[in-house]
Symmetry: none
Subunit: 199 residues, 4 copies
DNA sequence: GATGAATGAGAGTTCATTCAT
DNA sequence: GATGAATGAACTCTCATTCAT
């Protein structure tokens, strides 16, 4: 019996977290309301306070959980990856993750904007599991296929290119070029950016 | 003297706009409150409604004005610019603008996040005065100094690199590398990114 | 016990409705404030929004409920009523209702004044339970006791006479005659008006 | 020159009074706003305070002026009036006045509703110039044409019948009968009510 | 564990009124 | 006399949070 109760609680907790993640991502910290989170989670509002303390802590839990789940490198196909193809694969992977997990970059963006949110302790220095990438990268340089540069700045540029695409989706078509967001425009962009790193 | 009276109003209006710009940039549309804007502007709250109609319109006015003021290319030093040096100068200019006008990228970010804000008509297709840049860029390609690519994607990448630096300032040190934001780290990053475009 | 909790809410709701009815009747829709209604109801202001949505809907609920409660013909004593006495009894009944339920005519008056209020659908075509009156009325005409006229206009005139008395209570003493509102003056008026319908 | 200034002031004052009368009649005391009155009067808001002190006093001035202008008996055609026709003529006159001056009954209604308005001193005991009517009325009684009753209650009933028609225009069609407000229904009503007073 | 009921502070907005020229 | 600018209180409505069962 106690088992069952606990099980029910776990499910309620999970539903709250899911609803919170969606709403926080969609509307930001102050845009999302506790009422609506409870409503979407089909849970009683009070449960949120019982499980997470308050809105702030709920937010932090959401962020923490999301960061544990989403791995930026998870979608990078490294199978039989040759150095010449590395950059294209990596950036394509980033685009895929951002595309499939808009909550990821949205929440990150909100965190970066909102000075009131303290995430220092939340985001554990995530050692990106990018050893495989690094290996091909190093090989590429040694073989004279990839332009020599710091691995850190290599990743930075690829991340920046994909991040910018999503985080400025609403204004970029107006200020830079509308066809950036057509299927073809996107692919071309990816190829051109990836091409930068090859000699 | 009617002149003087109007002058007083103009100043009040300006104070409101300045305060609003700061607060909207800092906390976003829903995070900033009309009360606080009035307080910071040392103006009566009602004046905001007298001059701008409502909060939404105040926001739009702020955005419009900011976009008319801030020119992303204004800080790019094009004097005697040789193709080999172009990318470094351009990206340095972007960094400078973002550094001096954090409201610019912050407001843009808020706008990109908040689906409720409609600024399509606000941001007039800004014809970036980048003719000078384009000229050197084209020359650089012809001379075999710059890697051939679409000018659009060239700008995109440079913009992305600088945007990413500022918009993720709080989380990047935790996830990628802390020394990115030291003086040296920043310069190195700029140089490495700029170097990508040269053959 | 869920029952008991609900009971508490029901009482709060009722207190709000009562306070709202009083204040709306007293000061009209825009004259009454939500704050004051909450205060008088000894309820938290927010409860009003939780239970009724907004001020407008609260008003409509008040009107609807009042109209279901107050029956203009309820106070008419029809026991052993002879045609010769009908008019006096009916108008006396109207006076009694208006006297006991000032909110009734007051709210109706506000509604009639305020073009912004839409109550068309609220006031369901109330089938006045006046069958008993009509029967005696018809008999009176057949017997030559009551002056022949449309039943509709008969009711209209009696209603008008009582309505006018209450709705113009503040100005009539000044413009027509002060003793209209003494006990004797009122009775005399009733008798004289009632007498009009008899041959 | 001073003359001219004064003239201008008089006109501004008049415009304010007209606008105020319209808006007070339309929306009531608290429904009408000083801003809107000034706007409609094409006058500066401050003028209202210069000329009338405050909103309350403006209202009282409006009422006072209206009552001096509108005479309930002005539209009663007494030419060659025979007793048998008196009641019809008087009530028709009332209908005409109410029809042409909705502000009259509307403002009166608002005054009667709003306890906060003190009109005692405003409405000077207006000796209705109804001597002519009274004369015919008395003659009618003496000649056995008009039913004997107090003149006061005679007037009361006729006033009530016309008042009720206008002040309940929005709800009466719903509760009593819709055809009351057709051209024919109205005429019939007038005739039937007038007929009550004749033997 | 779960839920409905309640709360106080504060949000955006409007109002009658006064100030300054 | 006239006007634009300014004010503070009050209005409707919402939010994060707590209480009671």
């Amino acid at each position: 019996m106690a088992r069952k109760l606990q099980q029910r609680a776990i499910e309620t907790r999970k539903r709250i977290l899911t609803a919170a993640r969606e709403l926080f991502a969609e509307r930001g910290y102050s845009g999302a309301t506790v009422d609506e989170i409870a409503l979407r989670a089909k849970a009683n509002k009070q449960r949120i306070y019982a499980y997470f303390g308050n809105k702030q802590q709920l937010f932090e839990t959401v962020v923490l959980q999301l960061f544990q789940e989403v791995d930026l490198f998870a979608q990078t196909d490294m199978q039989d990856c040759q150095p010449a193809d590395l950059s294209r694969r990596v950036i394509a992977g980033f685009f895929k993750v951002h595309s499939e997990h808009p909550e990821f970059w949205r929440l990150l963006t909100w965190i970066n904007l909102d000075e009131a949110i303290h995430v220092e302790r939340l985001i554990g220095a995530r050692s990106h599991e990018n050893a495989a990438i690094r290996e091909v990268f190093d090989r590429g340089i040694k073989e004279g296929v990839i332009k020599p540069m710091l691995f850190r700045d290599y990743l930075y540029t690829l991340l920046a290119a994909s991040w910018f695409y999503f985080s400025n989706r609403r204004t970029l078509p107006l200020t830079l070029s509308p066809d950036l967001y057509s299927a073809g425009g996107r692919q071309l962009l990816i190829d051109e950016v990836a091409g930068l790193f090859n000699l």
